[in-house]
């Protein structure tokens, strides 16, 4: 059997399990390729009816315009129910003093907005597009991955998860994260996007952009970035390999305009997806593990 069929079947099975085992699951959507593929899979999984999942966007306020435009058109086209919860509101609610940095990151705050939304909306499961090949800590995570009452992942006390028997039972206050595309690689996602002609945000293809050079990386100029006089600003033809916040996602120089060109480019690239584009994982070897312990998705 073709591997994409195998991976697709696994994901559809997991999505159906999620619909069956939880009362109020939501699908976390960011505008990125992985969650876009998830929405595509969620449509397949429940055909001929429409997907039973609501879509939740935890909006950091540091979005690319293109990602928001894409989000709204996808939601409209597919008749999805979109819920947006804003980090801005969390900041106001708790009177949080945001530190002033060159590239202000709202990753930590995002976790707080998410846990608040979970409580407010009585969400019992969040479906996410996390993949095990992204990062070393993610490589260790179960498909049904429980969060304790504080929203924390307990990596040293994970439940056994045999075969395709996913246990969604939880105690009060616990919450489930579900990762249907755990076993997909970056390349699998691209081949699948190509095969299924999935529409993705325009950021993934080459375009001209004014960027700031920061640690040899290209950071899009925006109102969220604090530019100083000695910063080097360039205009380059770039594309994004991952889409996150404008302040912590780096662009890559590229002329790839089609999916085939993107695939060719990734195949010969000698860096990983996160290594090339994420500013936020650079801090330490255990950066992701630490953030997950604190309730990051």
């Amino acid at each position: 059997m073709d591997y994409l069929k195998t991976l697709e079947a696994e994901a559809i099975f997991i999505l159906r399990e999620t619909a069956a085992q939880f009362k109020n699951p939501v699908l976390l959507f960011s505008g990125g390729k992985d969650s876009t593929v998830l929405i595509h899979l969620a449509q397949k999984a429940f055909y001929p009816l429409s997907t039973p999942f609501k879509v939740l966007h935890v909006d950091t306020g540091h979005n690319f315009d293109e990602a928001l435009t894409f989000r709204d058109s996808l939601v409209a086209q597919n008749n999805l129910e979109l819920i947006v919860r804003r980090v801005e509101d969390t900041v106001r609610k708790y009177n949080i003093e945001e530190s002033i940095q060159k590239l202000p990151s709202r990753n930590a705050l995002q976790a707080l907005t998410l846990t608040d939304a979970i409580k407010e909306l009585h969400i019992d499961a969040c479906i996410g597009g996390g993949r095990r090949d992204e990062e070393k800590a993610r490589a260790k995570e179960r498909i049904f991955s429980i969060r304790d009452v504080d929203g924390k992942w307990l990596p040293y006390d994970q439940r056994p998860e045999l075969w395709n028997v996913y246990n969604g039972k939880m105690n009060r206050g616990e919450n489930m994260r579900v990762f249907p595309i755990s076993n997909w690689t970056e390349m699998d996602i691209w081949h699948y996007i190509k095969q299924e002609q999935v529409e993705i945000a325009s950021l993934y293809f080459a375009h001209n952009r004014k960027c700031l050079i920061y640690n040899d990386r290209l950071i899009a100029l925006s109102e969220f970035v604090n530019v100083s006089d000695d910063d080097k600003i360039v205009t380059e033809t770039v594309r994004y390999r991952t889409v996150g916040d404008m302040t912590c996602t780096a662009a890559v120089r590229s002329k790839a305009n089609t999916i085939d060109e993107v695939i060719r480019e990734i195949a010969v690239s000698n860096t990983t997806e996160r290594g090339e584009t994420r500013i936020d994982d650079q801090v330490s070897d255990a950066a992701m593990e630490d953030r997950k312990l604190k309730g990051y998705f």
Binding site: Y3, A20, D133, P160, L162, N164, E289
Partner: protein
């Protein structure tokens, strides 16, 4: 291109992480930034460092939980589940090995077969892993000696026979130097078999071993309604159906009228084993998650008793014969008690120990389970997905045991 899933099992320090690092490295699957992040000492690239993803693992130098790695060659895509080597984490090994086509067991040529090797064989026996490969590692340390390799092989063949395991492939390797991992090398001319990678590229994955002539099993996962129509979502676990068959609810032996079949985003005439399908059924039949539909009456076992091989996974509490558990097979759930514990397996000589009253973590035994209401099942030998399941603790909601039906 197809997909092969394999697990790597070995005792601590047998060289498992080095072997995985070597496979990824030799097949060009390690990107530069990853390589840079694993240069940890003056010895340069530490291949083992690539797989340990959690802080405690890196600090302690041991693998605690399953980690997944992905790579590909021109022939195939691979998913590795890297299993922990320490005895304490056998329960995690069972998780990682439950979906694989091949279990690769590493043996250190210097130390030979250990207690942990036998636990890995027991896991393979419990899960009925389709293929087992034994990589005898660190051959460089024993001067690439054929005799040492053969003596390990002879003993392992005997163990596999005792357990009724499929005959494994035996491959002498040096994970560190690379011999017989992806290229044969010059050091072991006496070995004429495949390299480990060659073996993994050529072995038949489970997906191609499914018996398409087995009985039809459609397990309902999820039900949706729209207007007057009822849609049943689930996996066609076994067999094939077309829109002319009449389906039977196995528990009620009632014939159902099948209206439409959907696969992917199409209405289809026929669906095959493994398809995630949606059925629209006519009439006023109401089914729920967990119900199983088939085509031939009496083809499945309907009973409130089942005999199982059980693997205990919880370290905080052992099996308690007076305790009520929640049993789950597919989407079927039923309260149950363990009625009788016939024996447990000695992890040293694989003999059955009788007269036992409990199982503790990482132990395997044979028990009779009695459920409160009847359930539908098959033997694991016949149809895997309707012949296996888990026990869930009612208070903690944790998965505390896994079983396969005899």
């Amino acid at each position: 291109m197809d997909l092969l899933r394999f697990t790597t099992a070995g005792s601590v320090d047998d060289g498992k992480s080095t072997l995985i690092g070597r496979l990824l490295h030799d097949t060009g699957n390690i990107k530069e930034d990853t390589a840079l992040s694993v240069i940890t000492d003056d010895k340069g690239l530490n291949l083992a460092y690539i797989t340990d993803g959690l802080r405690l693992e890196r600090e302690g130098g041991i693998t605690i939980d399953i980690g997944y790695k992905y790579f590909h060659t021109d022939k195939r895509k691979f998913i590795i589940s890297d299993a922990p080597g320490h005895f304490q984490y056998t329960k995690n090994l069972v998780t990682g090995a439950s979906n694989v086509d091949v279990m690769t067991i590493l043996i250190d040529a210097v130390n030979g077969i250990t207690a942990q090797t036998k636990r890995h064989l027991l896991a393979a026996w419990f899960l009925k892993v389709p293929h087992v490969a034994i990589a005898v590692n660190k051959m460089d340390v024993v001067g690439y000696s054929e005799d040492g390799f053969n003596s390990i092989k002879t003993d392992m063949v005997n163990y596999c026979k005792t357990l009724g395991l499929p005959m494994p492939a035996f491959i002498p390797v040096s994970a560190l130097k690379g011999d017989n991992v992806s290229i044969a090398g010059q050091n072991m001319p006496w070995y004429t078999g495949e390299t480990l990678l060659g073996y993994l590229e050529n072995v038949t994955p489970v997906a191609f071993m499914t018996d398409i002539n087995e009985g039809v099993r459609f397990a309902i996962q999820y039900v949706m309604h729209e207007d007057d129509a009822c849609y049943y979502y689930g996996k066609l676990i076994s067999g094939a159906i077309n829109n002319k068959v009449s389906l039977i609810d196995v528990k009620k032996s009632k014939n159902l009228q099948l209206k439409r079949i959907f696969v992917d985003m199409n209405e289809v005439q026929q669906a095959n084993t493994g398809d995630n399908i949606c059925l629209e059924l006519g009439g006023d039949n109401i089914f729920k998650r967990g119900d199983v539909l088939t085509t031939v009456a009496d083809d499945m076992i309907i009973s409130n008793r089942l005999k199982v091989i059980i693997c205990w996974l919880d370290e905080t509490q052992g099996l308690d014969m007076n305790h009520k558990y929640l049993l789950r097979i597919n989407g079927q759930e039923e309260y149950c008690m363990l009625h009788q514990l016939e024996w447990k397996k000695d992890s040293g000589d694989f003999k059955k120990i009788r007269g036992v009253s409990s199982l503790s973590v990482n132990e395997f035994g044979c028990a009779v389970i009695e459920t409160e209401a009847v359930i539908a099942y098959d033997s694991y030998e016949r149809i895997k997905e309707t012949g296996r399941g888990v026990l869930i603790d009612i208070e903690s909601n944790k998965t505390i045991a896994a079983f396969t039906i005899v």
